[in-house]
């Protein structure tokens, strides 16, 4: 039974959502904020007895959440999810409030309900115990918003706190040494996902030699426990790989759910053949969202759905079913979205931290259809006020299109970064944030026919550009 307070909170949240929608505004956090104020135990009450999967970690939360949601929807669930990345307690509360009415109707028709919640790491510490999900997925740990979290290990301790507040099954990234170590003391409820070892690159233990002047930064070269440098027999990207500590013997765990792409594929084409393995079973599907990081997200999503199926006794969520459902997933908000304009297109890749920018620059360097690069850098609270992280990203060993543009409130910092790389083209066009839309038009006009303009904004720069693009190209609004 829900308390009277929570009943009132639900009604208030509904009314606020209605008004905001009526005014044409996205209602992704305010209804939940009000609901939590009216009823402090709101999250506990609305989540009680519900089917819930929570997804946390630095990168890939949004895409993994989105993939899980699509698989569950295909399996016949009515899914409540925070698609727009409103991933603090208020966003989670909004998701429950918003889905209440739909859930009531679905239940009448015998349709099962599930909630898939992307959760910020700090919010995870305080909400996981209240929501008590069936499954917690931890995607990875990379440096992100250090001006907010201070240090990486603090972020990790937030995740740890959240995990210990629940008895949920845990799905961890086997290839991330810092995340995999979260299994310790929780072994009996933990499983792993990862990239297939045979499809990682070999012997590139550090990239120092290849990259000429400076080695690329890595977040976890040393064993957390004994501070000895890890040895790697294979690596995928960042600090992900098949690691081994020569001192304590800690090593990468064999993933229960693994994935790989067959052959070397052009990152700009979607639909690369992908293989998913669970135990002895391997199935083929296609990766509809390009990039190695999305192979990880796929393995995580499939693993989460399989564990969830086992926990709630849903036999439909087989490996082949999940794989099939995955092949039709479209990119989430700002994650490799490609939008066609006549014979050309533009593609938005959100870059909010070093590894995200590293993956995006790899994509732009390798894609055969690159017809322009437009970087936007802001430094609002939601972005992190410190932009010095862009100096940790390898800009030096990249290929840049002839036409490169920069904007955002901190465009000058990005401009300097490109120029100092000595790899970017001369004559980079740059404009202040208030002229960023005009610069987008200029960049799109200059993009050759048949090619794609890659737009790499950080968070608030993306929100603002997206608002413009929604109007300009009549795109679907993200909160729908």
């Amino acid at each position: 039974m829900k308390s009277m307070r929570t009943g009132t909170a639900l009604a208030a949240a509904g009314a606020i959502r209605f008004v905001l929608r009526f005014l044409g505004k996205g209602a992704t956090t305010l209804p939940g904020k009000i609901a939590l104020r009216i009823s402090p135990s709101f999250l506990e009450e609305v989540s009680r007895g519900q089917n819930v999967i929570m997804v946390t970690g630095t990168n890939g939360k949004t895409t993994t959440t989105h993939m899980i949601t699509e698989i569950l929807r295909k399996a016949g669930y009515s899914v409540g999810t925070n698609v727009s990345g409103a991933n603090l307690a208020s966003g989670l509360a909004t998701t429950f409030a918003e889905h209440t009415e739909k859930a009531r109707r679905a239940t009448k028709k015998g349709i099962p309900i599930a909630y898939v919640l992307e959760t910020d790491e700090a919010a995870f510490a305080v909400t996981a115990g209240k929501i008590n999900p069936h499954v917690c997925v931890v995607t990875n740990l990379f440096r992100d918003q250090l001006d907010r979290f201070g240090e990486l290990l603090y972020t990790r301790s937030c995740i740890e706190k959240g995990l210990d507040a629940t008895g949920a099954k845990i799905l961890l990234n086997a290839d991330d040494s810092m995340i995999s170590a979260l299994r310790i003391g929780r072994e009996e409820r933990t499983e792993f996902f990862g990239l297939d070892e045979g499809h990682m690159s070999r012997n590139n233990v550090t990239n120092a030699e290849e990259q000429g002047v400076l080695s690329a930064s890595s977040d976890a070269e040393y064993c957390l426990k004994c501070k000895k440098k890890f040895e790697y027999s294979a690596r995928s990207f960042g600090h992900f790989g098949v690691y081994f500590c020569p001192s304590c013997g800690d090593k990468r765990q064999e993933p229960n759910y693994s994935a790989y792409l067959s052959g070397r594929t052009d990152p700009s084409t979607s639909g690369s053949p992908m293989f998913l393995t669970h135990g002895d079973e391997t199935v083929e599907t296609t990766l509809s969202i390009p990039g190695t990081h999305n192979v990880y997200n796929s393995a995580a999503a499939v693993g989460a759905c399989r564990i969830f199926g086992r926990e709630v006794g849903d036999g439909n969520l087989s490996l082949s079913f999940c794989a099939e459902a995955l092949s039709s997933v479209r990119p989430a908000f700002g994650r490799t979205e490609k939008i066609s304009v006549g014979n050309k297109s533009f593609c938005i890749l959100l870059v909010k931290n070093p590894v995200g920018l590293d993956r995006a620059l790899t994509h732009v360097s390798e894609a055969v259809d690159t017809g322009g690069l437009y970087l936007l850098l802001n430094s609002n609270i939601a972005d992190g006020t410190d932009v010095s992280w862009i100096w940790d990203v390898d800009f030096e060993s990249r290929k840049y299109p002839e036409k490169t543009y920069v904007s955002g409130e901190r465009f000058a910092e990005m401009l300097l970064r490109l120029v100092y790389s000595r790899a970017a083209p001369k004559n980079i066009r740059h404009e202040e944030m208030k002229r960023s839309e005009a610069l987008f038009e200029e960049a799109l006009a200059a993009c050759p026919e048949g090619k794609c303009l890659y737009v790499l904004p950080n968070y608030t720069a993306m929100l603002s550009l997206r608002k413009y693009l929604v109007r300009r190209f009549h795109l679907k609004n993200y909160w729908k």
């Binding site: 930064s217 000058a412 740059h430």
Partner: protein
């Protein structure tokens, strides 16, 4: 004459958290504008430091956990060689954690003192509240430099993110005076420290990219070490850097977060 400069990047595999390598990229870039090639050697734990090999030593900041591993190696294995290089007048740039480790000790919250290298007469006391934000300093260091047409060369722009408060002893001078932000300790208005060729600062990441006049000062001093006091760095403009220096946002308010 083709010349080259050799930079040593200390513990680059561990201290790489706040964009500090931007400082090395700046040295490479502005040296390159003068036709000077730069070689960078990374040295990590267990590897021997020989100051004679290098013109500039860069020592950045990192997370506490990693700094503990490094401190041991620095004090026990590299300490004497580093001190000898300093006395020879080699150029060092030390940022945040690197700065603290060059000092005498680091006092933790509980009063426990961790012995550091004691190459510089400074000490650091930890406090809970982190000092985070964009900073502006005044420094006469870079007023006369080969960076031609630098916008307000007497100002240094930076970004700080530290919980340690550092205090200077008699043997060292501050690098700059704080205009915006906290600086060494948030109390005495000083920022960083200078001793012989050692330049220390709390400013992370893009300190040198945003302060080309300081980059040129360090480059010129390093070249003088190599080729004698008559060496002069060729003047080079700072057009691109000035865009960043003029952009008000890059130096707006020094925020202090909890």
């Amino acid at each position: 004459m083709k010349t080259d400069l050799h930079i040593c990047h200390l513990y680059s595999d561990l201290l790489n958290l706040y964009g500090d390598r931007g400082n090395i990229l700046a040295l490479i870039y502005r040296a390159g504008l003068r036709g000077i090639d730069v070689r960078v050697t990374s040295l990590t734990i267990g590897e021997e430091f020989d100051g004679d090999h290098y013109d500039i030593v860069f020592f950045g900041g990192g997370q506490d956990a990693e700094q503990n591993i490094i401190r041991r190696d620095l004090v026990r294995n590299k300490g004497d060689a580093v001190k000898a290089a300093i006395e020879k007048g080699k150029i060092f740039l030390c940022v945040c954690g690197g700065y603290q480790m060059m000092g005498k000790y680091y006092e933790e919250f509980d009063g426990n003192r961790i012995e550091c290298l004691a190459a510089l007469d400074v000490y650091t006391v930890a406090q809970k509240k982190r000092l985070i934000g964009n900073t502006v300093y005044r420094s006469d260091l870079s007023e006369k430099s080969a960076a031609q047409g630098c916008f307000e060369p007497g100002k240094l722009y930076g970004f700080e993110n530290h919980s340690g408060r550092t205090f200077l002893g008699d043997g060292v001078k501050p690098l700059a005076k704080v205009l915006t932000g906290a600086g060494n300790n948030g109390e005495d208005g000083t920022e960083g420290a200078v001793y012989r060729g050692v330049y220390c600062t709390y400013s992370h990441g893009s300190l040198l990219p945003k302060n080309p006049a300081m980059t040129d000062v360090l480059l010129e001093k390093a070249m003088k070490q190599r080729f004698g006091d008559d060496y002069q760095l060729a003047p080079v403009s700072c057009e691109i850097e000035n865009i960043a220096r003029r952009q008000r946002e890059t130096c707006k308010k020094g925020l202090t977060n909890p």
